[in-house]
Amino acid sequence: MKIVATLRRLADRIARTSSLRITLLAILSAMVVGAFIIILSDIDKLKNGDILGAVHTVGSAYWALVVGSFGSLRAISATINSATPLILCGVSVAVAFKAGLFNIGATGQMLAGGMAALWVGFSMDGPVIIQVPLAVLAGAVGGAAYGAIPGVLKARTGAHEVITTIMLNNMAGFLVLWLLKTNMFQRTDRTDPISKLVAAPGRLPRLFGFMDNRPDLVAHAGFIVAILAVIVYWWFLNRSTSGFEFRAFGMNADAAQYAGMHTKRLTVMAMMFAGAFAGLAGAAEVLGTYGYASQNFAGNIGFDAIAIALLGRSTPLGTLLAALLFGALQAGGRQMQVDTDVPIDLIVVLRALIVMFIAAPLLIKSIWRIKVSPTSLGQTFKGWGS
């Protein structure tokens, strides 16, 4: 009986907020715009008047997207693999949002965490059961430490985290480049900036390792870390005292101060938490996906994470689903590029369009002529000053 009631409440909620419908329509709208982009950029076919051929490309490209993300165990594994750092960085941005802070610095925190995890990974030679968790933990600590910098700067001087985290991202990139050329990190036989390898037992185990260790099933235990992170995030937000403080502070900093909360400490704490989650993402990439670090192992994940947190409205479940969607697009996009010559960069366009459409429910409403009560994504920006 309890389950039925819960389900009914859930169904009610979906119907009431209608955010699910908006999300689906936003994805659909983005796909439509994406189709036009594919067709219009197919200039050779268009020049020859082969419009049908161009339209056909859209069909096969989108089909490849689906097959490449969910069509086989290999595809699902690829989706999981792509989603893992996205989930962790998404939570990183989301937790900062909840505390009213805009963490653009997930990239830098991910780099810091990844390097810390890597160092533990290749320099330790202990029992796997201790070493791997320790390396993952080092990732969280490294990320938290790097995340603490903008937190402390904001709390002490009021420097806006949007600016400081952008600067710290750039600095982290150069720091990593320099580290990768030092004796401590550089692979002995190499002259280019690439790190030593983490020995196989020190890496995160393959998720589908039990299936004859098929090399094409790339998903690793980082995904479990990511799922755990989402659960921790949910628990923290809704059940812990500090989570309550985060939410109050994020929605109304003046009231939080009035209520006796230590707002400066909350600022630092929020950025450290954000950094820790992003650091875990770095650890997952280095210890799971690559087994080493190259100059740009964080890629664009930190920025994608912003879109993910926005899309998921910074809720734990929403962030997880958005990250899975983005991961699926990523995995499918690779397949699409191979199968149809449509460049994977289309995925970035689709992601941008999805965020835009979701952010503007009124627009979706007028395009699709539906009646919904628009739920706003809320305001992320609270002015430059403080």
Partner: protein, 506 residues
């Protein structure tokens, strides 16, 4: 000129702000629009000023129907408005604010600021308003800012001037000066619409009074014959008690002792200047003063939200000057903040969460790092019942509640525990009459249980009615310590304006 509002109806989601309102305004007279907070006065005037579009009804100007789609249309038709919250850009000068929208220009669209200064001086001199065109708005006291607003309207040659709650921010002396300005306007054959919720002022200045209740005009009265209680009853819809019912107080030992306290703001201005006073158990001490004379900073310093620069604060003889807000809270200090939207509530959190906002860390609600939500819930349900908070459930966002109910949430949270000192700033600002009565009775009840109570309010009537002892603050100093039973409002008003009544010179 004659302006008619015919059958104006304006709906917002869930409420009818104006319901078939008919009104006529003529030049050369003062029409007073009186009603409670939320009765629909401001909405009606915003419809007239082209800021809102009415759902039904029309505006008729000298017999011809007109449609105002923006303030520009209303201005062109000769309607001017002085808003309750001044529409002045704080970082601009007086001249820049006044000419905004009708800028005198030179070559290439350049701004002719000399001409602008000249224009301000001309109007200011003609109506004796005494303004410096180069003063920056944020440096000016509110009374002067209001005169800037008036110049803005006069410069655009308004025939009808609407004043929305113009006296709320003024000292009694400034109010008298304001009424002089109104008379000058009438003498210049302009019409004045005067929106207020203060009965005395309406009777004082109006030629006609229209009473608004729940969006409807419930009647027009003649100020020459009407009485205060008659109008109050029309406003509220039931007989209203205009005085606070309280027994004589029995002050006990000194609870709060403030000695030589000074506070400096971020720009280096001294906002509280060597203030000393004390509050005893079972006593209500009121602090009167025009907004911006250091009351906010004083309360912040007493509650630990702002560091004091000098002096000390003690509670029951123990120095608490360097205690954090939380430590003070734990020692039994309650704080009802002056701005409930900004400080008192988190609109996005539920009513239940707001009811424990200052107490969530207590043993009762949190065990270590884990919140005990069921406990919080049952306390919230009890408070909702006890304080008669009208809400569909404890789980809905606090922002959806009415102003009065939001204030009750704060009062419930702050007063529902054993206290030594209760500090309430503007406890009834923007609250309906029913809630005002209730909140006042709670405050007196708190006093009667032996709590020391400090009330800060810019509503002189409110502090006079509640206080057993009345302090007046002016420019960061306490300039008077009076017995409200024997002091006149006029005398207190003089202290608020920084002067000294003749009776006090001894």
């Amino acid at each position: 000129m004659q302006l008619e509002l015919q059958g104006i109806t304006k709906r917002f989601p869930g409420v009818i702000a104006n319901d078939n309102v008919n009104l006529t305004l003529k030049t050369g007279e003062v029409l007073c629009l009186i009603g409670e907070n939320g009765a629909g006065k401001s909405t009606l005037m915003n419809v007239l000023y082209g800021m809102y579009k009415a759902d039904e009804g029309q505006i008729v100007l000298d017999g011809k129907p007109v449609v105002f789609t923006s303030p520009a249309d209303a201005i062109a038709a000769g309607i001017g408005m002085v808003h309750q919250h001044f529409m002045l850009v704080p970082v601009f000068t007086v001249a820049e604010n006044v000419v905004l929208g009708v800028e005198p220009t030179g070559r290439f669209g350049s701004l002719d600021i000399d001409k602008a200064r000249e224009m301000v001086r001309e109007v200011s001199d003609r109506y004796n308003l005494n303004l410096d065109p180069d003063a920056v708005i944020e440096d000016l006291p509110v009374g002067v800012q209001q005169r800037v607003e008036i110049v803005k309207v006069l410069l655009r040659d308004a025939k009808v001037v609407v004043f929305d709650e113009p006296t709320a921010v003024l000292t009694p002396k400034e109010i008298i000066e304001f009424f002089e300005i109104v008379k000058t306007l009438i003498a210049a054959n302009r019409g004045v619409v005067f929106i207020t919720h203060k009965l005395k002022e309406a009777l004082n200045v109006a030629d006609r009074i229209a009473v608004l209740r729940r969006g409807q005009v419930v009647g027009e009265v003649d100020p020459k014959t009407a009485t205060e209680s008659q109008i109050a009853e029309m406003m509220v819809g039931r007989p209203v008690q205009l005085i606070v019912d309280k027994k004589p107080h029995a002050p006990g030992e000194v609870v709060l002792e403030v000695k030589d306290l000074s506070v400096v703001d971020a720009d280096g201005r001294t906002m509280v200047d060597s203030v000393s006073f004390s509050v005893r158990a079972g006593e209500v001490v009121g602090i009167a003063g025009v907004q911006g004379n250091g009351q906010t900073e004083l309360v912040d310093a007493l509650t630990g939200l702002r560091d004091s620069t000098r002096g000390n604060v003690s509670l029951d003889g123990v120095d608490i000057t360097s205690d954090s807000p939380r430590e003070r809270h734990a020692k039994g200090i309650a704080h009802v903040p002056e701005d409930r939207q900004r400080q008192g509530l988190v609109g996005g959190l539920s009513v239940a969460e707001n009811l424990i906002l200052t107490r969530y860390h207590d043993e009762e609600f949190s065990h270590g790092i884990v919140m005990d939500w069921p406990a919080a819930h049952s306390v919230a349900e009890n408070l909702i019942a006890e304080y008669d908070i009208r809400t569909p459930s404890a789980d809905i966002d606090a922002s959806t509640l009415s102003g009065g109910n939001q204030q009750k949430v704060i009062v419930a949270r702050e007063l529902s525990r054993p206290l030594r000192l209760s500090i309430a700033a503007q406890p009834t600002r923007g609250v309906d009459v029913g809630s005002i009565e209730y909140i006042h009775s709670r405050i007196i009840k708190e006093r009667d249980t032996g709590t020391a109570v400090l009330i800060v309010s810019t509503e002189l009537d409110e502090v006079m009615a509640l206080s057993d002892r009345l302090l007046v603050m002016y420019r960061g100093k306490i300039v008077a310590d009076l017995d409200p039973k024997v002091s006149s409002a006029m005398d207190i008003g003089l202290y608020m304006a920084g002067s000294r009544p003749a009776s006090a010179v001894n």
